[in-house]
């Protein structure tokens, strides 16, 4: 197991860390950097709870090698609200539309939605459903999540 040093941008700040080559991005975020907002729901890339953005694209960090973020930018749920603590419109919409129950899927769900809206600011309902199809939620039945994303897209 080799070690390597990676340099990347995490939530807007440059960072250099030495990692073991087999470390996952989720392991780096949660265990090394203590960013616990990113959740592990399955560890196999099947539930989306661990979704973060790498160069703006949503990835399952539980199966994404940490080594691959070298030279890239990573956004986690901790980096989504503004410097002044203001919530991102997606976060606000999730709260206001009842899109959060137990909340375990929420960080990943919100980041998948952000990746969508960054690329497609006015998505159709079908496009929203497709964008979050990799993020499982057991509480809400998704409908209020879809509404929230729609509402946020209208505000952005």
């Amino acid at each position: 197991m080799g070690k390597l040093t990676i340099t990347f941008e995490l939530n807007g700040e440059a960072l250099s860390v030495e990692i073991e080559s087999h470390l996952t991005l989720l392991g780096l975020l949660r265990d090394r950097l203590e960013l616990k907002g990113t959740k592990e729901g399955c560890g196999m890339g099947e539930c989306g709870a661990c979704t973060v953005l790498v160069d703006g694209k949503a990835v399952n960090s539980c199966i994404f090698p940490a080594a691959e973020v070298d030279g890239k930018s990573v956004t986690t749920i901790e980096g989504l609200s503004g410097q002044d603590g203001d919530l991102h419109p997606l976060q606000r919409a999730f709260i206001e539309h009842g899109a959060v129950q137990c909340g375990f899927c929420s960080p990943g769900m919100i980041l998948s939605a952000k990746a969508l809206l960054d690329e497609n600011p006015r998505p159709t309902e079908e496009e929203i459903r497709k964008a979050i199809a990799g993020n499982l939620c057991r509480c809400t039945g998704y409908l209020q999540i879809i509404e929230a994303i729609k509402a946020a897209s209208e505000k952005l």
């Binding site: 560890g43 709870a49 709260i95 959060v100």
Partner: protein
Amino acid sequence: MEDFINIGRRVPKKDGEEKVTGRAVYIHDLSIPGMLYGKILYSPHAHARILRIDTSRAERLPGVRAVLTGYNIPSIKFGFYKDNVPLKAGKVRSCRDEVAAVAATDPEIAEEALDLIRVDYEALPAVFDPEEAMREGAPLIHEEHVGGKEKKPTNVLNLPWKLVCGDVEEGKRNSAHIAENRFKVTWVNHCCMGTSGCLAHFDHQNNLTIYSITQIPSLAQKDYTEALSAMGLQGKRVRVIKTTIGGGFGSKLDTYAFEYIAILLAHKTRRPVKIVFSRDEEFFATSPRQPAIIDISQGCTKDGRLTFRDVRMILDNGAYTSWGATTPSVMMMPISSLYKVPHVRYVAKCVYTNNTYSQAMRGYGNPQATFAIESQIDILSEMAGIDPLDFRLRNANTPGEVTPQNFKIQTCGLRECIDAVAQKLDWRQNRGRRDGRGIGMASLIHVGGGARVYKSDGCGTIIKVDDFGMVNVITGATDMGQGVDTVIAQIVAEELGVRTEDVSVIHTDTDVCPWDVGAHASRTTFVAGNSARGAARKVKELILEVAARSMGERPEDLDIRDRTVFCRNDPEKKSPLGKVLRSAHYTTAGRMMMADYFYDPSNENLDREFKGNLSVTYTYGTHGIEVEVDRETGEVKILRYIAAHDVGKAINPMLLEGQVYGGAVMGIGYALTERLILHQGKVMNPNFLDYKVLTARDVPRIEALVIETNDPAGPFGAKGIGEPGLVPTAPAIANAIYDAVGVRITELPITPEKILKALKEKELSEHRPAPVGLPEDRAARGSHHG
């Protein structure tokens, strides 16, 4: 209509911001200095004798602090039947049996240590079918377990599930039509997005603190206290602290082996020990919904009035006993009381097998029973030549009715629910097309005003108001994400004349919070809500006494609204609430603005015949569904989904809709896609690739219709709504499929394969002359009388 400030509003969840920012702390996120990681070794065999366990290599691995087996721990028995132990000795009875456990400084080391433990087994004959397990000579799961009058060794549990109301034989004689069917329902997993886990920690004096995700903090505290006694730690204290819970759905209504193992490891190592399940473990080592084989018959008169309902069930208990074995106590509710039925008989047997053991899951037996009842209502109404809508309306429950099980029906919006669904679906127009599109409906009854399953159905609340009019509500209730903190805040704010945002709700710590029987039976809004309201009333009286003194008025002439104390007769005479409160403290003989209240509803335990008014009030609902069935692929597409619920009063319509949507989608999974596949006792699909939870692309739009019957016993009129959302889903879908293509699927989940097979059989039988007396549906073994 009262003019509410806080009730009936779409108030966002109080913990929303913590959750959308990733700040909420789940069990997975928690660590304590010096913490060790616990891992569990499970049996690879469904039934085997343990010949030898060698842990010496694991113990020598650097970083390993303790290795436990069933041979070096004290005897701790747990579960409803006390037939389970944390680590097994002698033999294993299922593939989830815990055989050894390790605590190490690092999760990888703990995992490696498990690989170093050597267990020698001698495989034993196993039994996986409950009907086979009942036969003479079947392998015995618990050799010491005896039953029957002769006290012979048996796999049949000594549970007395038998309800007899009236005389079913007379009901049969009075029937013009009788339907008889067998239905089967299987295991499904709760699939909480946050996997199970706990963190156990002893202080220097051996008092235990356990960070937990339980839905029953007070009862779990009792279980753990008993475990400490078994460990020789009599008189030690147990403190249960709940982290944010990543989904419940009934899965956390019992205490489990992994929790006792964490306690044992923490005690042995003198270090905090955390155990968190992998998703794989979550699928095979947690307890799924209770499966059942259901033989049901119902009859009706020529004009479609129900004459009797006769149900026999066999429940695969698995190898140990948790609350799954008690689901018949809830199955009795729809069997006896969904629609008016004069004669009822129900018998259920729970049978040990070498499968996994089951637990409570949202609806607690009701979805299983309602699938059989409501599917058969359609079969029976067809035999009687009556539209199933009319059939249901003709037999619908009504307010004031006392059901055969002695449920006293109070408010009852069942007819309104049925009517609303029929209207939305344009029932008369759209029913009976048989063109690949079809509509169907099914209804439900559930407890809506608590459920006295224990000696108490109570919940305590403490309220404390500070100098600034900010309110702390300390409740026994548990939030798994459903939003009870928000609902309690709304109730207290309304009662106290403040705003919802002024109220913070503390519900996480048994050292602080009062007693509560647990988050089950859709009871929390009703019971914890009434409890909170009672405490709010008391503290309001205190505040008004103080205000009366400082304002020179009589307390009974004062009221509080929107943070202001005012004189009812002269609203211009007023004082800000904060000012009044400060005057309570900054005075000689000052007092604290605190109150407590224990609410225990006036419902009854079921008696020895399983009769009694289990709940103060009952809740109803009807789901109507339009489907399209692809005859080539067997795929079912839900085109429209109407969910009408009698909720008493919607305290927070947004959170209520969330319960209905979430329930209905879980119900669609139960109906169409979800199945925990067990082969020789082993879970074959312990992952989200092979276990099909619905995704955002799969869910239909759902229209939630809220019927408000304003129940006088409910807090501001509310009844429970946590479970009902998934109770009628599967039969409504099955009925719609029948309407679409004329095949009756009697086994869940209704997969495309089953539909295709049934379509093929139907086609074959239509090309043959039909046997006389058989209805179109071959699955319905009907007989015609009179």
